[in-house]
């Protein structure tokens, strides 16, 4: 597993449980906490593919519809791969990192360019942050 602190201009920001080994994937962060945000995203198929959805819980309730549309990735701050979300995500082979522990930042702002490295048991997240 890669443990670099910087890859191609993306800086390491934290790690969490990796659900499925799908390698490295890039996308743009979007925090989703309410159903209406999810509904708005579902209406834009291209945006879904480019988006890494960041959601506080580790349940499927909010993010399940998106899994069918193959989002760029999903990051949660709770839950484990041994869960319904983990099981469904593994089937769709969507990059998912659960229970992300951020290091050096408190949150991931919308629009942040992210790279998820989904290899092994722990997945790592990298971001292009303003200097």
């Amino acid at each position: 597993m890669s443990d670099e602190t910087e890859i191609d201009g993306y800086k390491y920001i934290g790690q969490g449980y990796n659900v499925v080994p799908v390698g490295s994937h890039k996308g743009v962060a979007l925090n989703v906490t309410q159903p209406n945000q999810m509904i708005a995203l579902m209406g834009n198929a291209q945006k879904i593919k480019d988006t890494i959805v960041i959601t506080p819980g580790g349940t499927t309730t909010f993010v399940a519809p998106l899994l069918y549309k193959k989002p760029g990735g999903i990051i949660t701050f709770g839950g484990t791969p041994e869960s319904h979300l983990g099981i469904v995500g593994r089937n769709f082979r969507v990059p998912i990192i659960m229970t992300l522990k951020l290091e050096g930042i408190e949150s991931i702002p919308d629009g942040t360019e992210l790279m998820m490295v989904c290899e092994g048991k722990l997945g790592r997240v990298y971001a292009k942050l303003p200097a």
Binding site: I39, M42, T59, P65, E82, S83, H84, I87
Partner: protein
């Protein structure tokens, strides 16, 4: 409050998230033409969004209609000790089930598939005990038995593929359903 048949259709969408009429028919046993009429009316009312070939998805007002129906229809059951005790036992079974499915996805072992089927068989028997309280739960027993038969016959998609009525899908939807009946939030499993 919604009519029983409108609730069954809208609840199927609520649980499945994005779904087309034939899948709702498979879940509920209601005729496709009746489902399509319900979906058209609900879409006109702004409760659903048409997702093209994928079917429909519930919008905020549609979600509110379904959760409101759960609150009203099952208010008396939420403090019923038979159901709350039932749910406590289910939590442990659910933990074993998701562990077995995860293991099956990672190892593809016969032993893990046996554990999945044992848990699914147990859940089908346990759900049957709730039918006197919630008659529509008979549909979960029927679906679970059908999915188990197909998985046992070698149709691997019926173990946990989300795009068919797999054992895991039926389990997951039932779990979401009983949580709303009891008015409980979902934990992280």
């Amino acid at each position: 409050m919604l009519s029983e048949s409108d609730f069954l259709v809208l609840n199927a969408i609520f649980l499945k998230k994005v779904v087309a009429a034939p899948q709702v028919a498979e879940m509920t046993g209601i005729a496709v033409e009746d489902i399509e009429r319900c979906l058209e009316a609900a879409t006109r009312q702004g409760w659903l969004m048409d997702m093209g070939a994928d079917g429909v998805m519930a919008l905020e007002e549609g979600l509110a209609q379904v959760t409101g129906h759960y609150q009203t229809a099952y208010a008396d059951l939420r403090s019923n000790a038979v159901l709350t005790d039932w749910y406590k036992a289910f939590e442990s079974l659910n933990h074993r089930f998701v562990g077995a499915v995860t293991e099956w996805q990672e190892t593809d072992s016969e032993r893990s598939q046996q554990r999945i089927m044992q848990a699914a068989d147990r859940l089908a028997q346990d759900i049957a005990k709730l039918i006197p309280f919630i008659p529509r739960y008979a549909a979960y027993v029927r679906r679970m038995e059908r999915s188990m038969e197909r998985a046992d016959a070698g149709e691997r998609d019926y173990v946990c593929n989300p795009t068919v009525d797999s054992v895991h899908n039926v389990w997951f939807e039932f779990h979401e359903d009983i949580l709303h009946v009891l008015g409980r939030p979902r934990d992280t499993t």
